[in-house]
Subunit: 141 residues, 2 copies
DNA sequence: CTTGATGCAAAACGTTTGCAAGTTT
DNA sequence: AAACTTGCAAACGTTTTGCATCAAG
C-alpha cells in the first residue's frame, strides 16, 4: 500500500489519520510562504469544501503541540505556521507582508556558533529565528 | 522651560504633544520587555486613569507610523511594541512568553556584514531581527 | 480659530469552546 | 466498542471605526 509522506508523519507522531489532517498538513508542507490560519482555510476550501474553519484552528494547534509544525513570529496580528524542520531565516516584505524562507546554512551556523560561544546567562537557547525585513524588488502586488 | 525627552521626541516627528501621548511614550521608552497593547493600557490606568483603550490603540499606531516605535515579531496573537532605535535581538521565553532585549553589537555587526556580502537577489534588507527562543532559567512564574 | 486628538460605544475581526454527530483504530 | 476528531454555533478577546467633544498649535 502506498502511504503518503503526510500519512507517515501523522502516524509517526501518534495522531489519527483523517482527511482534514492529511489535507491541512499537505498544504503546510508544500507551502513556501508561511500561511496564516485563514490562508490554509482558503486553500482547503478549493480541494475539500467540507472542512470547517474550527477544524483548521484545532488541527494547527494539534500539529504545533506534536511538533509537526511551528508557529513563526510575525509583526501582524495573525499567527503564521511553518512545516519546515531545519532552522532557516525569513525574508519579510513590509509592503506585501509576504514571508519567504531564506535557507542559508552558513548564516545559521554563524549565529549558532556565536551564541554557543557567548553562553548567555540565565537563558537556554533552543531555537534561533532570523527575520530580515525589507522590500521585495520587481514584484507586482 | 524643562522639556522632557518624550516631549522632544513628539515634536521632533511633528506630533501634537498631549498627555496621553507623553504617558504612553514614557511607558514604552522605559519598558525593558515588549509590551502588548494591553500591557500599556494596564500601566497607563495606574497613572492616568482617564485614558481609553481606543486611544492606546490609536496612539501606538501613530507612533509606529512616525517611527517613534516599532512592532516586533511575536509568536503569540497579540502584537508587541518596542521604542529602542538601535538594532538588537530578543530573548523570548517559551514558558513565560516574556520577551527581553538582548543587546549585542557584535552579533548585529556579524549578521549585517554577512547579509551585505551575500547581496540577496530581489530583496532589499532594511531591518534585521534575531529572536532567540528558549527558556529563562531560575525564574519564578 | 483651525486642526487634530480623545473617549465612547458599536462593529468587525480573529480565535476558542462545548457539544452532538461522525470517523478512526 | 472505545477513543478521538469534526462541524456548528455561540462565546470570547482583540482591534478598528465613526462621531461628537475636547485640547493643542
Amino acid at each position: 500500500m502506498n502511504k503518503s509522506y503526510t500519512h507517515k508523519r501523522l502516524t509517526e507522531v501518534g495522531l489519527k489519520v483523517t482527511q482534514p489532517r492529511l489535507a491541512i498538513l499537505k498544504i503546510l508542507v508544500e507551502s513556501k510562504e508561511h500561511p496564516t490560519v485563514d490562508d490554509v482555510y482558503s486553500k482547503i476550501q478549493k480541494s475539500h469544501p467540507g472542512i470547517s474553519l474550527a477544524t483548521v484552528y484545532k488541527t494547527l494547534e494539534t500539529f504545533t503541540d506534536t511538533s509537526l509544525i511551528k508557529k513563526v513570529g510575525s509583526r501582524e496580528s495573525s499567527i503564521r505556521y511553518d512545516a519546515r524542520q531545519d532552522s532557516h531565516s525569513h525574508l519579510i516584505c513590509i509592503k506585501s507582508n509576504k514571508m519567504l524562507d531564506f535557507h542559508d546554512s552558513e548564516l545559521n551556523l554563524l549565529i549558532e556558533e556565536y551564541i554557543k560561544k557567548k553562553n548567555i546567562d540565565n537563558f537556554e537557547v533552543q531555537n534561533i529565528e532570523v527575520n530580515l525585513y525589507g522590500e521585495l524588488i520587481n514584484q507586482k502586488y
